[in-house]
């Protein structure tokens, strides 16, 4: 390189004057926004692929039933009136069992959050109960509560109880202490502080715990019905499965999925109405 070239061209790594550039944007993401149609689109695409595959033959009929056949089975189920015969008992078991499990769970969780003696006594107990596969206890529940509805309610209640407790006391622990201090400094009664400060403050955590608890409730519902019920989605799926009737099996599974989506949507609506104050 000669001196002449150095004089005429500015050095490449030290640009003297450059075109102004827009500063690159890097602040996006990490802020979930609602895109409802995306969820529906994912379902639709998966179902269309399954339909296409089973029709074209690259998915064998033994691997997966045709979605359209499942739909037809579902239609039959609806017309014969069997749908509601199965759905009715299932829904009432789900409702009763999870109602007891969730309400007792929230109450115990709040007590653990508020009283250190209750915490010291109950937290190890809950930790011991949580990992027990509740289905394994079904025979025990049958002995305690009978073969009828009682044992099913108990199983679902017990299964939803533990996750609700854990979510609730975590949520109570996370309530802003300065708000509680504020309540005390204005002379609010203990009960007012619990009702107007602790419970609303714990609500976000309780609701997200509810999503998990209710999904567990659906799983346990089916398990309980598979082990001993004439009617119910679980019984229906078990019958279909033992006959290798894949259409009916899938019709049953779809009902469960729809139930799960509905429960989640209902909680979503509650969250939007109750937690509108969150930033």
């Amino acid at each position: 390189m000669s001196d002449a070239t150095l004089d005429t061209t500015p050095p490449r790594d030290l640009p003297v004057r450059d075109e102004p550039k827009t500063v690159a944007f890097r602040g996006g993401g990490f802020a979930p926004r609602p895109h409802r149609w995306v969820g529906a689109l994912v379902f639709a695409v998966l179902i269309l692929i399954a339909e296409w595959g089973t029709r074209a033959g690259w998915i064998s009929a033994l691997t997966l039933p045709k979605p359209s056949d499942v739909l037809a089975t579902f239609g039959e189920l609806y017309q014969s009136g069997l749908l509601f015969k199965h759905l009715g008992p299932s829904l009432s078991r789900f409702a009763v069992g999870s109602f007891f499990g969730v309400s007792v769970g929230i109450a115990v969780g709040v007590l653990i959050g508020l009283f250190s003696y209750v915490r010291a006594g109950a937290v190890p107990l809950v930790a011991a109960l949580f990992p027990i596969p509740k289905i394994a206890l079904l025979p025990l529940f049958v002995i305690w509560f009978g073969i009828g509805e009682g044992s099913k309610y108990a199983l679902i209640a017990f299964g939803t109880f533990t996750p609700t407790v854990v979510a609730t006391y975590g949520a109570v622990d996370n309530v802003d202490r300065t708000l509680i201090r504020m309540g005390q400094s204005f002379g609010l009664s203990w009960w007012s502080i619990v009702r107007k400060i602790v419970l609303p403050g714990a609500m976000p955590g309780i609701l997200s715990g509810l999503r998990i608890s209710l999904a567990i409730a659906i799983i346990l519902l089916v398990a309980a019905e598979m082990l001993g019920a004439e009617y119910g989605i679980g019984a229906y799926i078990l019958q279909a499965g033992s006959l290798y009737d894949l259409e009916r099996l899938f019709a049953g599974v779809v009902i469960l999925s729809v139930l799960g989506v509905l429960v989640s949507a209902v909680i979503g609506v509650i969250e939007r109405r109750v937690l509108g104050w969150r930033t």
């Binding site: 300065t178 708000l179 201090r181 504020m182 005390q184 400094s185 204005f186 002379g187 609010l188 009664s189 007012s192 107007k196 400060i197 609303p200 403050g201 937690l275 509108g276 104050w277 969150r278 930033t279």
Partner: protein
């Protein structure tokens, strides 16, 4: 109603925080407490409000709180402590509900305190929609609603920018001029202390002891931004505090 602190000492386990604080807080006056970080100012305020008990000494209430006073000792917090799920109105009604004040009477009180803090248009807003200065005005309105005998303020303006702080100091002065209230005002900011304090209590570094009580006679309304006499007082206070603050700072680093 006066407040008397009688030989208050306190330690958390072996950690001595306050030593032998004796102080009178006369009715209708604003007493500012300044001191280096960690010297026990917030702790002292919690004792005065009955949220904690000192190891030794007593907090005394001299005389009865005036009639119609719902919560004699009322706090205003640095971080506002508004319930985010309640509107401005709801946050104020929170502290009235427990005294059985609802309906028309509650609406009258809420309307009155919102007017006094210039918040009438924001009655239905949620805290997340308000700026920091407005949130603190809501907290002040909430404190006024219970008609306190003594207001206990722990760095109420520290979370705000300096312009908002000036405006809120003016608001506090005009509230006080219209109806003098008693206040204990903890602050880091000497400028706030000389603008709002009738008495300024300077605490030493931890364990906090009273180093000096500075009295300011200029009426609150006449204290202007940049007043030379106040500046002189502020400079004097800073000289009192500088060495303490420096020592306190070094101490915190050594912990």
């Amino acid at each position: 109603m006066d407040i008397r602190l009688d030989a208050i000492s306190h330690s958390y386990d072996d950690f001595e925080v306050l030593r032998d604080i004796t102080l009178d807080i006369p009715a209708g006056r604003i007493v500012c407490i300044v001191g280096p970080s960690g010297c026990g100012k917030s702790t002292l305020l919690r004792f005065i409000g009955g949220l904690e008990r000192p190891r030794a000494g007593r907090v005394l209430q001299v005389g009865e709180p005036p009639a119609g006073c719902l919560n004699p000792l009322t706090y205003i917090f640095q971080d506002f402590a508004l319930l985010p799920w309640r509107t401005v109105e709801g946050n104020i009604s929170l502290v009235l509900e427990d005294h059985g004040i609802r309906g028309q009477r509650a609406r009258e009180i809420i309307g009155d305190v919102l007017a006094r803090t210039k918040l009438t248009d924001f009655a239905k807003a949620l805290p997340k929609q308000l700026s920091g200065g407005m949130k603190q005005r809501v907290a002040i309105a909430r404190a006024l609603a219970v008609n306190p005998a003594v207001m206990l303020m722990d760095e109420p303006l520290s979370a705000l920018d300096s312009q908002t702080r000036e405006l809120l100091m003016d608001d506090l002065v005009s509230l006080w001029s219209r109806q003098p209230f008693t206040a204990v005002y903890v602050t880091h900011n000497l400028n706030e202390a000389v603008r709002l304090g009738h008495q300024i209590v300077v605490l030493s570094r931890r364990p906090g002891q009273i180093r000096e009580v500075v009295t300011l006679d200029t009426p609150l309304e006449e204290r202007q931004f940049g007043d030379p006499e106040l500046d002189a007082k502020q400079k004097y206070l800073w000289q009192l505090m500088r060495d303490e603050a420096r020592a306190a700072d070094a101490e915190l680093l050594n912990v």
